[in-house]
Amino acid sequence: MKILVTVQDHNIAPRFDQTTEVLIATGEAGLLQGQVRTIILPHRSAEELSDLIVKEGIDCLVCGGIEDSFYRFFKWKKIRVYDSVIGAHAEALQLALTGRLRPGMVLPSARAGVDGGGYGRR
C-alpha cells in the first residue's frame, strides 16, 4: 500500500489545498518498505498535489481538511482518503500502515489548543 501524508511542520497539514510538503511511504501490516520520501511542492495547489497523487499511484491519502470535489475525485479513483485527521504525521502514518487510522481522528500527539479551524471537508 502506498500512502501519502500531507505535512506541515511535524503535523498533518490542516488544509489539502495549502499543502507544500508531503511524505510518501510504502508498507503493509505496519511495516515500512523502503525509505519514506519527502516531496516539496513548488506551489500551494490542490490540482498539482492531485496530479502528484495520481502520478505516484497512491492508494491511501492522509490529510486534514479537503474540498469535497477533490475528496470525491479520489474516491472515484479508488484512493482511500483519511481526511480531517489531526496530529503528528509520523503517528498518522504508523496508524495508516497498521490499518487503525480513521477519518476525523484526533491523534494523541495533537497539540492542546488546536481548535480544528480549517479542518473538515468543505
Binding site: T20, E21, Q35, R37, T38, I39, I40, L41, P42, H43, R44, E48, L52
Partner: protein, 132 residues
Amino acid sequence: MTRVRVLVVDAEAEFTGLVVERLHSWGYEAAAASDVDEALAVQASLQPEVAVISVQERPARALELMGLLQAADPALKVILLLGRGAAGAGVRGMEMGASDCLPLPLDLGVLIDSLRKVCGRSQSIASEEAEP
C-alpha cells in the same frame, strides 16, 4: 571537513525556505534567494559550491541567472529544478553546463543524491547521522 554550501533560488520564498530547512537537517549549509540580485548577493557571501535553481514560469530568466552565477564562479555546480513544460530549458541548461536536472515537485531524497553526485562526495558532512 567543511559542510557543502548550497544556494537555492526560486521566486516562492515558502518553497526555498522549506528546501533550505530540509538541507540544513541533512547537514548542508544552505541559503535561499528569490531573485537575481539576491542570488548574486548570497553567492558573494555564502560562496556556494552548488546552486539549485528553479526553472518554471520564466525559464529564460533562470538560465540568465545561471550564467551570471557561473560567470562569478566558474567552479559553481548547478542543479536545475524543472517545472511543467520546462524540459526545453533543461536541455539548454545542460548545454550551458548544468550538472543535473530534477523534476518538480521536488523529491528531497533525489536532490540529496544529486548533491552528493555533483559534489563528488559520498556524504554531506554531518549528514551521515543527521537524518536517514
